[in-house]
């Protein structure tokens, strides 16, 4: 029950999140904006278009969008977004979740190479580089979060934060939070690491891999990328501000939890969008500096977890 609810929320609301962020950017840039529902309209339209099978592509190219969506679905079902009582508890391990989301990226990168176009390869190569550098930061930050709890299980972390709210205001979680935010920005391909609305192929990372997709496949990719954003923001929200999440199956609690989750993610998304308006894209080879910085913060968080208090 909880699983289905979470799936519905994530799938249903993630395009709206993207729409909201675009809307906020539009307003801050002095434009009217297309409205929050636009991504859903685009998806519906893409679904009605006739698919294209480019010459010389293999199964990898066709399966990749499905894998991408599947990984997001699994995470959306397993992670404690609305309720901590998940049937998929043995999957809701932070390492497993991270690895799953990486799997999706890898599938897309392989698809990009598979097209055999120069841009596809370029995007894949950049994406692979970013993954390789993001992984350490992510895992070290997870380490820092797991130390006070003694477990990497998402449910366990969330519940322990609920029981002891003071944890949130310790330097450990502050440093870890900063590290995680940088990493999430890199993983979801937002500014300043990657510009989701770029038209210039040479500056693309994520877009370059999907240049060849069209129709329903493209719809899958678009949906998946907004789901990734939602999932990451949801994780961020519930790891550091878990309040409102339902610990039991009571309908009232669950309803409140849904509301709380939506509000939290919306707020985080809004902050991200506002931030993006004021940021310029980093040169690709300045990105490692950014990630190294967040890696050090993660390491310091681990350090703080044992040498403070």
């Amino acid at each position: 029950m909880g699983i289905l609810l979470q799936l519905l929320i994530v799938v249903g609301l993630s395009p709206l999140l993207t729409g909201m962020m675009r809307q906020i950017r539009a307003r801050l840039e002095g434009r009217a904006g297309a409205g929050i529902g636009q991504p859903w309209r685009d998806l519906r339209k893409l679904m009605r278009k006739r698919p294209i099978a480019p010459h010389g592509t293999t199964e990898v190219f066709r399966i990749a969008p499905l894998v991408l969506v599947a990984t997001c679905l699994v995470v959306a079902a397993a992670a404690p977004f609305v309720t901590t009582a998940s049937v998929l508890d043995p999957v809701a391990d932070l390492f497993a979740v991270v690895a799953l989301l990486t799997l999706g990226t890898v599938a897309l990168a392989l698809a990009g190479i598979d097209t055999g176009t120069a841009f596809g390869g370029m995007g894949a190569s950049r994406e692979a580089t970013i993954i390789a550098l993001v992984e350490p930061t992510l895992l070290v930050a997870i380490f820092a979060l797991s130390v006070p709890v003694g477990s990497t299980n998402l449910g366990a972390i969330v519940t322990s934060t609920l029981n002891d709210p003071a944890q949130v205001f310790s330097p450990v979680s502050l440093l870890a939070a900063v590290a995680l935010i940088v990493v999430i920005v890199a993983e979801t391909g937002r500014l300043p690491v990657d510009n989701p609305s770029t038209h210039l192929e040479l500056t693309m990372v994520h877009e370059a891999m999907v240049l060849e997709y069209s129709g329903p496949d493209l719809a899958m990719v678009e949906l998946a990328s907004s789901m990734r954003l939602t999932v990451f923001l949801g994780l961020l929200a519930n790891l550091f501000l878990p309040w409102g999440i339902a610990t039991t199956g009571q309908p009232l609690l669950v309803a409140a939890a849904v509301l709380a989750f939506v509000v939290k993610v919306a707020l985080l998304g809004a902050c991200l969008a506002v931030g993006e308006v004021f940021l310029a894209k980093l040169r690709l080879f300045r990105v490692p500096e950014l990630l190294a910085g967040s890696f050090v913060l993660g390491l310091l968080a681990v350090g703080a977890s044992f040498f403070l208090a």
Binding site: A26, A32, G33
Partner: protein
């Protein structure tokens, strides 16, 4: 509605106007239209300028690359009927001589309102 803009040999007058149409002032995006990076993502081609001999084949290929159903908008007089370049050497013809055109925007260059109006015809908003 995603739009891919193709410059088939324009004097860039129309490009400036298109830029204006999608800029903060006229903001065609509020009607749900977005310029995209690849014809695979596009539903409509926004073709400007006369089709030069060099651009005829690329234009045709771009048209083939767009997934069905698809529309073509010829922006500017050159795109409609070669405009001032009519009969010039190196001109393969107007856009409709190369790919089927669904909508034409007159003007040299057309005013942004006209372009936004065309976009609204496409998106129906």
């Amino acid at each position: 509605m995603q739009i891919r803009h193709v410059d088939a040999g324009s004097c860039n007058g129309c490009e400036v106007e298109i830029g204006a149409a999608f800029g903060p002032v006229y903001d065609a995006e509020r009607y749900g239209a977005r310029l995209v990076a690849s014809p695979r993502h596009a539903d409509a081609l926004l073709v400007t300028g006369v089709v030069t001999r060099n651009m005829a084949a690329p234009l045709r290929r771009t048209f083939e690359a767009v997934p069905d159903p698809k529309l073509v908008v010829a922006v500017g007089d050159c795109a409609r009927n070669c405009g001032v370049f009519a009969g010039a050497y190196g001109v393969a013809g107007a856009v409709r001589d190369v790919v089927p055109v669904d909508l034409e925007v007159p003007g040299c260059p057309p005013r942004p309102e006209a372009i936004v109006d065309a976009v609204r015809k496409l998106t129906g908003r």
